[in-house]
């Protein structure tokens, strides 16, 4: 599976210019806030349309401006975890995940849902509603939902930003394991160097709306130090 992106977009004064081929494994999209990381994920997911260029996953063209191709989001077969869980508050945990399982047979949907909830450590609260759970538990469910449709690509947009450090560490380990198990490429957005060090197989750098450089962890941190010399975390 390989995602190729060669796309440009403009949102107000902000210009996004992305050119890369996503490697296998878990790639961390790293850069400061406002560098265009979330905008890129929205383009790949089809939630925004590029002004120019092409986005494709293997043989499937997601967007091609010259031929006016735009594959709707629900047909892209990708999984995405947002900064907020966005679980439906009027449905149970189990139902939230089952909705994303793409299979006609109820028995299969049920089995797949239970399997995923076990994988993310949420078997004990399948019948609860999202409002009854903690932020970390809700993001576990959001992870299960993102994987429910057997996605060809997993996108994670700073999913653990709002969580405490110990919970973040647990969930990073879970993401690592889930991506390894799925064998699908994943793109994880963060501006946190710790998350970068813990998770990255490769690093895709975002700087002022330009996203075109793939590097290793050491190289990415070196560039970040040059760009943000006073940041004590880097």
């Amino acid at each position: 599976m390989s995602l190729t992106v060669d796309a440009r977009n403009r949102i107000g004064e902000f210009h996004l210019d992305a050119r890369f081929t996503l490697p296998a494994g878990l790639t961390v999209l790293f850069g400061p806030s406002g560098a265009g990381k979330s905008r890129l994920l929205r383009l790949i997911a089809g939630l925004d349309r590029p002004l120019d260029g092409r986005i494709a996953l293997d043989g499937t063209v997601f967007d091609e401006v010259t031929t006016k191709v735009h594959l709707p989001t629900h047909q892209r077969h990708i999984g995405m975890v947002f900064q907020q869980p966005y679980l439906l508050p009027h449905r149970t945990v189990e139902s939230n995940v089952a909705l994303a399982v793409r299979h006609d047979e109820r028995v299969v949907r049920h089995a797949r849902t239970r399997e995923l909830l076990a994988k993310v450590g949420a078997s004990d609260f399948t019948l609860r509603r999202p409002g009854q759970l903690s932020g970390g538990q809700n993001q576990r469910i959001a992870l299960a939902r993102a994987l429910a449709g057997n996605p060809r690509l997993l996108l994670l947009d700073e999913p653990f930003n709002a969580l405490d450090l110990p919970v973040r560490r647990q969930l990073r380990a879970l993401v690592r394991q889930l991506v390894d198990d799925s064998g699908r490429p994943a793109l994880f957005v963060t501006h946190d160097p710790d998350e970068l060090r813990d998770l990255a197989d490769n690093v895709l750098l975002a700087e002022h709306g330009v996203i075109d450089t793939i590097d290793d962890i050491a190289g990415a941190l070196k560039r970040a130090r040059i760009n943000s010399p006073r940041d004590p975390l880097i």
């Binding site: 709707p72 989001t73 629900h74 947002f82 966005y86 009027h90 994303a100 993102a146």
Partner: protein, 221 residues
Amino acid sequence: MNEIDWFPLLLSLRVAAIATLITTVVGVSGAYALARFRFPGRGLVEAIASLPIVLPPTVLGYYLLVSIGRNSPIGRSYEAVFGRQLVFTWQAAVLAAAVASLPYCLRTATAAIRAIDVGYEEAARVAGLNGTRLAFIVTLPLAGRGIIAGISLAFARALGDFGTTIMVAGNIPGRTQTMPLAVYDRVQAFDYATAGVLSGVLLFVAVVVLLGVRRLERTAL
């Protein structure tokens, strides 16, 4: 006090119930379209749909009478299918109540849908939902309390309509005389006692609906 004729109450309930059913279908689907789709003339549609709130009911009734009268295309088509005219029937009262109450449902439901964080819908789209599944599983339940509040207001408005109803359905006792018309009739006949009982019933329904709407708004998701 004369013996109270409860026909107007039963007719009003029937007219308001059917009108609310029409209002719900038209109002909620219209609200979804207005809140979620961009199309040319959206503002104009929204303004026209809100006209019944600002127009005098008799003016609204006049335009409705012209639209469904025997010489209008709608009136002629109705007569061709059902073999009788539409105006001055209880069905015309349903139409009058539906038109008069539509904006209360439409505007409240539109505001409720617009207030939803689009992130829920985007997450659902990525998960494979689209079209009617997205609307019925995600959007409408999230806006549910606002929509129910709008439907309740529409029901109360339909139950209490006077001006529009009298213009298109008349005030025929035993046929098209709804509660508000019966109250008017009783007052004209100096039967204040009966008018008081009938008015009390309408007042009670209105208060119950408004308390319910307030409760829904306070506990909105």
